[in-house]
Every structure is written in C-alpha cells, then in structure tokens.
Amino acid sequence: MKRCLVVDDSRVIRRVASKIIQDLGFDVDEAENGRKALNALTIRMPDLILVDWDMPVMDGLEFAQQLRKLPGGNKVVVVFCTTENDIPHIRQALDAGADEYIMKPFDSEIVRSKLILLGLLG
C-alpha cells in the first residue's frame, strides 16, 4: 500500500486531508510542521507528501527544498496544499520542488484528480 505524509499545522486540515487520502487507498502519517516532517522521513520515505505552505518552525517551502536534497528525496511526489492562490506563489513552490499544487479549500475530487495526473491512482 502506498504511503502519504500530510504536513499541516492545522489539526482539522490534517484530519480532513488524511481521511480523503485514506479513502483513496493510502496509509497516512501526519506531521504538524516541516521540521517534524523531515524527522519522520528519516524513518520512512513515503510515496506522496501533501504539505501546507505557512507553518511555524519550518514552512512548506523550506521543507520542500530540504527534502529534495535528501537521499531518495527526489523520488517523492510533493503536492503543496495551501491558501496561497496566486501565480507567484505557485511558481515559487514549483521552483522549490513541488510536483503539484492544490489551493484551499479543496475536496476529495480535486485530490483524486491530482493523484491521477501524478500517476499515483489508476
């Protein structure tokens, strides 16, 4: 079974996103900021990371940049999931290593369609 790490400082958003991803057939772990997410990656590298932008301790942008430098870090699919919904932010996330970008609010259909694009769902 594919694994996903959901990184968001909002517990509610983590729960909602995790439920959607679980319903799509993934095992899901959660982290509340980029630093904790990087720590989690030392134990196991997931197939997919859904990451918020604005978080305390370490934001999503720095997390993505750090992740891509890790061994095996360039194989993980990274999807930003954030309220930042303007073109400069999207370009910045892609430059930092994001594969896809979801603008909040989102629903299960948006997540599902993005994972199909990324080849993570049939």
Binding site: N85, I90, R91, F106, I110, S113, I116
Partner: protein, 284 residues
C-alpha cells in the same frame, strides 16, 4: 412530488433530451427543478410542470437546461487525453497527406472543460502542425452551459479538477478570483447549443469525437441512435472516446474496440480493413 407529476416530467425530459429518469431519481428531479421554481417565483413543481404542458417554450428550455448534469472537469480520467496526444495526434500528422486540417468534436461539452482540454493538448504539440487548420467544436443541449464554455472563465475550484498546475500557469491568467483561459486556446474552440437527438450531419466530419459520460444517461435505443449518428460524423479512420464506464459493445457495430477500459473505439466500416484507424492501444 406527485406520481403523475413525476411521469409528466420524466416523459418530457426523455423526449427532449434523451435523459432517462427512473422512479428512484425523484430526488434528482426535485433538486434540479426547485431552484427553477424559486427563481420564477412559482408555487410548486406542479405549477412549473403545468407551464411545460401548456407548451411554454422558454419554460421548457429552462427545465431541460436545469436537468442536464454539469459535472465535468479538465482532462477527465487523464489517460484518454494522453492517448489522444501520443497516438491520435501523431497519426493524424503522418496520415493526412496534403490535407493540413483536422477537426475534433466534444459532444456534451457542458461548461467547456473537455473541449478546452483537447485544445490545450493540441496546442502543446502545435509545433508538429505548422500551418494546419485545427477546429474543436463543442456542443451541448444546455444553452447556459454553452454560454459559460464560450467565455473560458473558471473558478479556482474548476481549474483544480484535473488540470495540471503547470498547464494552469501556461494557459490561464488570474483575474480577481477567476482563472481566464488565454485567447489562443479559447479561439481554437467553437461551442454551440445542439441537441444530440437532432440531426448532427450538418456539423461536418471529424477526425476524433469525444462523447464522454453522455450515453450513460440514455436508454439503449437512444444510445444506438446517437452512436449511429456519431459514426457518420467520423472520418474513415476516426476515433471515438467514450467515458470509462461506457461501451459500444452490444449497442452498435459501427465501432470496434481499441482500448475499452479507456473508452477508446475506432470507426468500423464493413468495407474497410480493420487496421485502418488513427488509434492503437498503448500501454499508458
């Protein structure tokens, strides 16, 4: 809703659009008609249906419009569009000889996402078609959906359903809260109100037809009628894309399966070799 009201509404909708409403769809009928009742400040669905029965053409159009599903998305199911880009378009390029023109039909285009996905796909490989004349035609029974499709303006929610973010940046600009498709792509697509139950031949011939998640709403006879009309619109080596849960098997002999799991079929002419097709099954 009274049983006789349901019968009247279901018969009217079926006759006008082909959409079959079985008794378990009472909730759907009510959900779609109640906003019309409120907008027109009528007392009830019964009053609305009485207006339809009296032959009020404007009201009839409004009801048909309200009943049509507008559930759509960009690059829906993704793989059919990969097939179109990697198999059908290259085959069009090498098989047309001196004819530098091709046309694609999006039947049941709704608010335009499918037709615009086709246009963006073609645009992505436009360097392979220098000087070619390309037309994407979108048709739908709903005039309001066609009006929205022609504008090419989508909400944040719309552009996230199936559209890769890099494609969003490539072909859209953001204006306030809306995402606006650029003129180059929008200009490739012509959308017009058209009922699939009417004559289609005046639309002209097409190299590929997308009619995805439309037939599923029809009964067997209507499916056959529509498929026969679509077959006549396809060029001899043309390709038909249906929805993933739709098939021609057991319905029409005018097509042969290319990749049924992806809803891909080729035009089949009894007097033509079976190999003559723009489509081939590929491992996507």
């Amino acid at each position: 809703m009274l049983p006789e009201d349901f019968e009247l509404a279901a018969r009217f909708v079926k006759d006008r659009s082909g959409l079959v409403l079985t008794r378990d769809k009472v909730y759907l009928l009510e959900n779609r008609l109640m906003p019309v009742v409120r907008d027109l400040r009528l007392k009830s669905v019964s009053e609305l249906l009485a207006g339809i029965a009296s032959g009020d053409a404007a009201l009839q159009t409004t009801v048909i419009d309200a009943m049509m599903a507008k559930d759509t998305g960009f690059f829906r199911d993704w793989k059919p569009f990969v097939h179109f880009r990697t198999v059908v378009l290259p085959n069009i390029r090498v098989s047309r000889g001196m004819k530098t023109r091709f046309r694609i039909l999006s039947a049941g285009v709704s608010t335009g996402q499918e037709a615009h996905s086709i246009a963006m796909t073609i645009r992505d490989v436009s360097s392979s078609f220098p000087g070619w004349q390309v037309e994407v035609i979108g048709i739908d029974i709903s005039a309001t959906a066609i009006a929205a499709a022609s504008k090419g303006i989508y909400s944040q929610f719309d552009v996230q359903r199936g559209l890769p973010v890099r494609t969003l940046l490539q072909y859209f600009t953001k204006q306030e809260d809306a995402w606006v498709l650029n003129d180059a792509v929008r200009g490739m697509v012509k959308c017009q109100p058209w009922n699939l139950l009417d004559d289609l031949f005046s639309l002209g011939r097409f190299d590929a037809i997308f009619c995805r998640n439309v037939l599923v709403y029809f009964d067997l006879k209507t499916k056959l009628d529509v498929l026969q009309k679509l077959a006549r619109l396809l060029v001899d080596d043309g390709v038909l894309y249906l929805g993933l849960n739709e098939t021609v098997t057991g319905v029409s002999s005018n097509f042969r399966a290319v990749d049924p799991a992806l809803g891909i079929y080729a035009a089949h002419r009894a007097d033509r070799p079976a190999s003559l097709s723009l489509a081939a099954k590929v491992d996507l």
